[in-house]
């Protein structure tokens, strides 16, 4: 059976990957236009470093271009792309000795100012800062399900965790995020 027959009708992303695998640069660029910004945000959430996120994204898209034929139509393209970025980010963190693996431990208290109340003016920057203060795995789970729009099943596949583990990560992440966004300003002033 050919790959084209395995594709679900209307799965434009999968069609683009198939064309990119055959050397169609226009299809590759369309994939970049559709997904790169979202993947960049996910890389930023994992690495928490602009330069590392850019490195991860460049490596990821180079892999997409050179290895598009490895894509299996059993998974959605966005899941496949997030999985590539996730693995590269984890590798980079591991190589640089920052983490033996994505940790679920509490990060050190941030000295940056926290938002006063949940009802305060909502803005994306505040949300990003609050997510960045979460443990990496919780931040990754929240980013995949709530920001990247992956289904829980797809997020499980990207993170390589069970349904129960994903639920636990999301639950703890949301609770901490709510605390971050609702708690009165915490003072980390060295007296």
């Amino acid at each position: 059976m050919t790959r084209a027959r395995q594709l679900s009708p209307g799965d434009a992303d999968a069609e683009l990957v198939t064309r990119a695998a055959e050397g169609d640069a226009t299809a590759y660029r369309e994939l970049v236009a559709r997904h790169a910004a979202r993947l960049h945000q996910y890389a930023l959430r994992l690495t928490r470093n602009a330069h590392e996120a850019e490195d991860v994204l460049q490596e990821a898209w180079l892999r997409v271009w050179q290895r598009a034929a490895d894509y299996e139509p059993t998974a959605r393209v966005t899941t496949w792309l997030h999985r590539i970025v996730h693995n590269l980010a984890v590798d980079k963190l591991r190589v640089r000795g920052r983490f033996s693996e994505l940790t679920d431990e509490e990060p050190a208290p941030s000295s940056t100012e926290q938002p006063a109340l949940l009802e305060a003016k909502r803005d994306a920057q505040t949300l990003r800062a609050a997510i960045d203060r979460l443990p990496e795995r919780q931040a990754a789970a929240l980013s995949l399900v709530h920001l990247s729009g992956l289904s829980p099943e797809e997020a499980q596949e990207v993170l390589g965790v069970s349904a129960e583990a994903l639920e636990s990560l999301l639950s703890r992440g949301r609770r901490k995020l709510k605390d971050e966004l609702t708690a009165p300003r915490k003072q980390h002033v060295a007296n």
């Binding site: 970049v32 790169a36 960049h40 180079l62 050179q66 994306a124 949300l127 929240l142 349904a163 999301l170």
Partner: protein
């Protein structure tokens, strides 16, 4: 009634799930979405739980995606120009060249075989003539050698000028 519709969702389980996935059932595991909607429709407690989590969902629904940094976007878009594509192996793509090579090889073999046959035939003729000539020369040489050893040369051969 489908299996999903028949699945009952307890309020305590609903509480765990809404704490993890939020109040938007579209983000829940696929098999739990319908039971969640059913419980939400009939249980005020479920609706109250959703209201509690709605503000955080509103935060998370903020579009946090930003445009790519200009330099990065350009680098990503230029990947096909800078990096050679590793095209997947396709046996079908080799059929035409393989047929061409096979035809060329067969033609070469046929021509080669014909040429060899001609050369063999020619060589045989030349060899026969050469052998005959050699036989004649050998006969003359043998006669001269015999004459020297037996002293039977013609007298005029031995005369000095």
């Amino acid at each position: 009634m489908s299996q999903i519709e028949s699945e009952e969702l307890s309020l305590s389980r609903f509480r765990e799930l809404v704490a993890a996935y939020g109040a938007n059932f579209e983000r829940w595991p696929a098999t739990l979405q319908e039971p969640a909607r059913a419980l939400y429709a009939r249980a005020p407690e479920a609706r109250a739980l959703c209201e509690q989590h709605a503000p955080l969902d509103a935060w998370l629904s903020l579009d946090t995606s930003e445009a790519l940094p200009a330099g990065l976007e350009q680098r990503l878009l230029s990947v096909p120009q800078q990096r050679r594509k590793v095209l997947p192996f396709k046996p079908r793509s080799l059929v035409v060249p393989a047929l061409g090579w096979a035809a060329a090889a067969a033609l070469g073999l046929w021509l080669g075989a014909s040429d060899i046959a001609d050369q063999v035939a020619t060589t045989e003729d030349v060899s026969t003539q050469a052998a005959e000539a050699t036989d004649d020369e050998a006969t003359d040489d043998d006669e001269q050698l015999l004459a020297l050893t037996t002293g039977s040369f013609e007298d005029e051969w031995l005369e000095t000028p």
